[in-house]
């Protein structure tokens, strides 16, 4: 213990002080968590998914707890990109961490317009593109399930920004490596996976689906083995940096994602349970590296693939 370990990781031309990001939709606009932790300790945080105009989201009920997880159908409620820039960014613009904007739209043109607006904001380090949110009937999943659509959308976004572009993939597909390959072909700088897994809970009293939206996205500890498996598959088949996300609740699970092939990881629903859990995870990874005598976290990326 006490040895110097290197947690820094590089993605494109950005250096993150450590591989821990917080996932979109679980971290508000960052502000909300300032009371519970020092945001500067994070590698970065990803803000709530932004649309072109403000969105009210789905009708309640929107969430229901499941064993070791939760199902949500928030419906991407957010303030919209302009309000985000005008009202939220000024409060988080003096931080020593990376702010990543997550964006979504219902057609290519919307994604492009949001990208253009964010591209002018110096403080935004990268753009994460939600092609996978399964909650809005007309949105997300349409793009993310089809490699051609992902290629086309990612290419147009890349043409409109010089910031790194991360494509966030849905697990609700037959072969996630095909979608990751499409993102790579379109020159995405990274892919993040997995978004939530579509699920349903039925209320046996009313004999109807519990969520007003009927289906929701499953997240939380319960889903991490699915995420680790998919990161492993993408690392094996597609040469693109990976950000691992899905059910990470401690350093051990974070390390599993890294060993499967993730360069960075995102903490999601666990933020709800313990607002400063990311700090614990950073400490846990540091301790692991010191105990195992590993100099840099980068040495672990994809290590589970080596035959030796």
């Amino acid at each position: 213990m006490g040895k110097n370990v290197n947690l820094a990781v590089k993605l494109g031309n950005i250096i993150f002080k450590n591989p821990i990001l917080t996932a979109s939709g679980t971290f508000g606009y960052g502000l909300e968590y300032q009371k519970y932790m020092d945001l500067n300790e994070l590698g970065g945080f990803i803000v709530k998914g932004l649309s072109l105009s403000e969105k009210q989201g789905n009708k309640p009920p929107r969430i229901i707890e499941t064993p070791c997880g939760m199902l949500n159908a928030i419906g991407l409620q957010n303030v919209g990109v302009d309000k985000f820039i005008a009202e939220k960014l000024p409060y988080i613009n003096n931080l020593n961490t990376h702010i990543i904007a997550n964006i979504y739209g219902t057609k290519d043109e919307e994604f492009i317009e949001i990208t253009q607006r964010l591209n002018k904001e110096e403080i935004i380090s990268a753009i994460e593109v939600n092609v996978s949110c399964p909650n809005v009937a007309e949105g997300g999943s349409l793009f993310g399930k089809n490699p051609d659509n992902v290629f086309k959308l990612t290419s147009s976004i890349k043409q409109n920004t010089d910031k790194p572009v991360i494509v966030k993939l849905t697990p609700n597909v037959t072969d996630i490596t095909l979608i990751a390959q499409a993102a790579k072909d379109a020159k995405a700088d990274a892919v993040s996976l997995i978004n939530t897994i579509t699920g349903m809970v039925i209320d046996t009293k009313t004999k109807k689906p519990y969520l007003d939206n009927k289906t929701g996205g499953l997240s939380g500890a319960a889903i991490y083995p699915v995420g680790v498996r998919m990161v492993y598959e993408v690392f094996e088949n597609v040469d693109i940096p990976i950000i691992g996300v899905g059910g990470i609740y401690n350093a051990d699970v974070a390390l599993q994602y890294i060993m499967a092939g993730a360069s960075l990881i995102e903490i999601g629903s666990a933020n709800f349970t313990q607002p400063d859990i990311s700090i614990d995870i950073i400490k846990g990874i540091r301790r692991y590296l010191a105990d195992e005598n590993i100099e840099s976290v980068s040495n672990l990326v994809g290590i589970a693939h080596s035959s030796g």
Binding site: T26, G28, I63, E65, M70, I74, Q77, G220, T273, Q274
Partner: protein
């Protein structure tokens, strides 16, 4: 923060009272709540929101055993620690009025018990009305009580018990099932009375981030956690509750 349990005991039917050491590091207002982690594991995954029933030398939470989370909580022993975040939410706005009524349905009495202390502290006069299904569930030691089966106090609903007392000079503080609050709302509208209601909703975070606990209001979606849990009854779209 992890706080020590001083006592965790049954006070009626499936109703429990847990008393927790108050470290004296923060203040709380009636109507605010804590997000409580039931144990150190991933099951149950989410914290549970509980209103504060009493807050002075100790923190008291009165809760009903309704599911697995509260069943586990009921097994906690004196001396164990539980992890709580809070106090959260806006709480009741305490204002004086010619006639103040506290109206609770079932476990909805919990935040009103704390409110009672605050009103007494300011020497405001008030009257209290609580409704339960049966005598077995009665867990308050003050106020006028109604039970649906007539096994204790007035026979009928708390609405029947309180409705004739309400007039245009009345300010009601209410908490309970949304059917009860919705009926009260109709009466308050009709009599032009004021009312603050404390609402319940499933929450993931409790701190305004997950957007899971929203309700529909005349001013759009509002979060029960950090824009509530106390609302002016006129703001809520009761038909959507």
């Amino acid at each position: 923060m992890k706080l020590q349990i001083l006592q965790n005991e049954q006070i009626a039917g499936s109703v429990m009272s847990i008393k927790i050491d108050n470290p004296g590091l923060f203040t709380a207002r009636a109507g605010q709540f804590f997000m409580v982690k039931i144990n150190d594991f991933n099951y149950p995954f989410l914290r549970r929101p509980f209103s504060i029933t009493y807050f002075k030398d100790y923190i008291e939470i009165v809760y009903k055993i309704v599911g697995e989370g509260t069943s586990m909580l009921a097994k906690k022993q004196k001396g164990e620690f539980i992890d709580m975040i809070g106090p959260l939410g806006n709480g009741f706005e305490i204002v004086n009025s010619k006639k103040i009524l506290l109206v609770g349905g079932g476990i909805g009495f919990a935040p009103l018990r704390f409110l009672k202390e605050e009103l007494k502290g300011r020497s405001f006069d008030f009257d209290s009305f609580f409704g339960f299904n049966t005598k077995d569930e009665v867990c308050v030691d003050f106020g006028n009580i109604a039970t649906m089966d007539g096994s204790y106090g007035y026979k009928g609903s708390v609405i029947d018990l309180v409705k004739d007392v309400i007039d245009e000079e009345t300010l009601i503080y209410a908490c309970g099932p949304s059917v009860v609050l919705s009926k009260l709302s109709d009466i308050c509208l009709e009599k032009n009375a004021k009312m603050q209601v404390s609402l319940e909703s499933r929450m993931a975070c409790g701190i305004g981030v997950c957007l899971g606990c929203v309700i529909e209001t005349k001013n759009g979606m509002k979060k029960v956690c950090d824009e509530g849990p106390v609302f002016d009854y006129k703001e809520i779209l009761w038909e959507k509750m």
